[in-house]
Symmetry: none
Subunit: 425 residues, 2 copies
């Protein structure tokens, strides 16, 4: 987003004369009847390594249905956020949804809350929290409280939730996560983030007081005072617990102001995701969450039923990422094959524009997210054919889409849906 000319005119400076690209896209956008589907195999991208005989899971998998699509598709590779940057699921998906992940940043508290299935409202501030162990002087001596079992975390969160329902006029919502992790949501008026962390980041130090990131922001100042009040109320409740007699708070922020998907793209969008995190990310941009389906086959079946009710479908498949995180090559290959086996269901009502990709790579060799560009397949009556026999990382290197930033995929989908008027005469 550039500064409107008028804002800088008083300083005698023009930022530059370049047209704002999002504004241009908006200006050119036409409403059509096209159906678009973005199918995300989480963490799809991988590396060819000697250990796996130089095949990626996507290359090793039998994918007859993807193969059939390839002949009439374009391919390429996408940089999720910026060269060399490994994205979390938040930035990874915001990019896929067409939002620059460096411009629209979602706090970790918000992401954690979404991941736990909490429904966030506009203006809510969320923080991720972790139980820790404090010594008598309040010094953090174990930042994870010995990784207490999830049941203990749930018990302690219930205890806190029972005693702290409100702070002043602000509602406090506490929800346990896995092991020592939990989330706190503050629902009140005039609250804003981000704040600095209540976490010394190492042991041997006291929990620092939080501060506004912008000292002139009244909402942040109010929020910082609330966090202090929350500590004042919560620490005595935990005082006699062992080992979890304290807690750290990080990523304290409100939901970012994100232009709504439907307004931005003139597309009414539905999300078919199984895991709360991805439902939450879709809701963050205003997609309609469709509950029910638990498998990819069920998600595709549901797509068929909802086909006429929406213009855009985001369909999320988690198991490729899970297998990658586990470093399990054959499980990742199998997850891709399971996906491929279900694909014909979706194709019964083939979307006018179909993109199949990942939100990032999760290479088996890395056992985690990575920065490597993920492959993307784009299929429509106007995608053209890259004359590739299969959809793979190595093949995608040769595709007509090249290597590009993921935030442009949605614009390419719109173009393939003939949603853009000509620019200039």
């Amino acid at each position: 987003m550039t500064i409107p000319e008028s804002h800088c005119a008083s300083t005698g400076l023009l930022q530059n004369n370049r047209m704002n690209l999002d504004a241009l896209y908006s200006e050119l956008t036409l409403k059509t009847k096209a159906k678009l589907a973005l199918v995300v195999l989480d963490g799809l991208g991988d590396l060819a390594t000697k250990e796996q005989l130089y095949l990626t899971p996507l290359e090793a998998a039998a994918t007859p249905n993807l193969d059939k699509l390839c002949k009439d598709s374009a391919q390429g590779r996408m940089i999720p956020a910026a060269p060399g940057i490994t994205p979390g699921s938040g930035p990874g998906h915001l990019g896929l949804f067409g939002y620059d992940p460096l411009e629209f940043q979602v706090g970790r508290g918000v992401i954690e809350a979404l991941g736990l299935g909490m429904e966030l409202r506009h203006g809510d501030v969320a923080a991720r929290a972790k139980f820790c162990t404090l010594d008598k002087k309040g010094i953090v001596i174990d930042r994870r409280a010995g990784r207490i079992p999830t049941e203990t975390c749930e018990k302690l969160c219930a205890l806190l939730a029972a005693k702290i329902k409100k702070l002043g006029d602000t509602v406090v919502i506490i929800k346990a996560g896995k092991e020592h992790r939990f989330v706190v949501v503050f629902r009140g008026s005039g609250l804003e983030g981000p704040l600095t962390d209540a976490d010394p980041n190492r042991e041997g130090f006291a929990i620092p007081t939080v501060h506004p990131r912008d000292v002139n922001n009244a909402g942040q100042k109010k929020m910082a005072a609330l966090i202090a009040d929350f500590y004042k109320a919560a620490l005595p409740i935990l005082a006699n617990e062992r080992p979890a007699n304290g807690f750290l708070m990080r990523g304290i922020a409100h939901q970012p102001h994100i232009p709504l998907f439907e307004e931005r793209y003139k597309l009414k969008a539905a999300a078919l995701a199984v895991y709360p995190m991805y439902k939450g990310l879709a809701q963050l941009v205003g997609m309609k969450k469709i509950e029910g389906p638990a498998t990819i086959a069920e998600q595709f079946e549901r797509y068929l039923r909802e086909h006429d009710h929406f213009d855009f479908f985001f369909i999320h498949y988690k198991y490729t990422d899970k297998a990658g995180e586990d470093g399990n090559f054959s499980a990742k290959k199998k997850a891709i094959e399971d996906f491929d086996a279900a694909l014909p269901i979706l194709l019964k009502k083939k979307p006018d524009v179909l993109a199949i990709t990942g939100d990032h790579s999760t290479p088996v060799a890395i056992k985690g997210h990575s920065w490597h560009p993920q492959p993307v397949l784009l299929h429509s009556a106007f995608s053209g054919s890259d004359k590739l026999e299969r959809f793979t990382e190595t093949g995608a290197n040769l595709g007509s889409l090249g290597v590009f930033e993921a935030k442009y995929l949605l614009r390419l989908m719109q173009a393939n849906a003939r949603m853009f008027d000509k620019f200039g005469a």
Copy 2:
């Protein structure tokens, strides 16, 4: 160049909400024990032409050691500065060092001074100068003074240096270059560039007076006055010389404020270069210059000895560029083969991340630097394999790195060294 934050701060507006990418990289950077090596074959990139049976020197060369590396490497091509722009060595190397060459510009005077092996200090202003011939009225009648021999240039510079050691409190350092070229460095307090050139750019005009580029800059004003004083002192000394009775000055500027390499990347860096220009460019960003080695084999041997003392090694090889400048295909091919023969020395202590590339292309068919993207090979345990058998321009077109701006190579090297934390949750 974006508007510095401070310029817009008074309006209470940040330029946009997009995070500054360098700030993001810095925030995510972790210190690791990885060793990184950037090996630059100057002017490596070339063109396949009919005259050379459609083989580039890199394709024609026998490179068994590079070939072996390829199998487990990623490849791509890099745009040195911007599409279609032919860079000099300065912008070419700044890009390789991870600095946007359009943001961090080094004056030609500074580059020439570095090229002559002059040690510049912070605050020094350097100008490149050329002897010329003036008529009785002071009109430039030969901008190159008949390309006087280097010995004459050295004699005249010695004459000037003997008579002009200081101007006021400013030390003046004069050093001869090749033929009619020389460099003048001004070392004093409060001096700044850039200034306009003391060069009419064509014959038939007098030498113009220099002016500050920014009329409100006191350092530039002081510097412009000094240049006038320098002419006043120097011209009478040359008055009876023929044909070099005058001189032109260009690129009058101080060293740019460049964030230091070690601070920017958390990498302690050493430069193993033979030619002064590349040592100078490395020093400009704060790398430690290692003197001694005169051949690529000696440079690699020295790398082995210095391996434990630094995190990052910049190793520069000049002869590919020289051969390209000469339009000598077989010399360029030979230079590549000599390099390849020495490569096993480096690989005795294989860096965790190894990048082999050029700073630009110097095609034999062009006999000079060019804008064509140079090929790059990136090798690490996490580079993946692009399944290419050789490192060539044509092969690099098929690689997973795509075509990208050279300034991102260093970030990709950091990513491969696992130096970046995840962005977002």
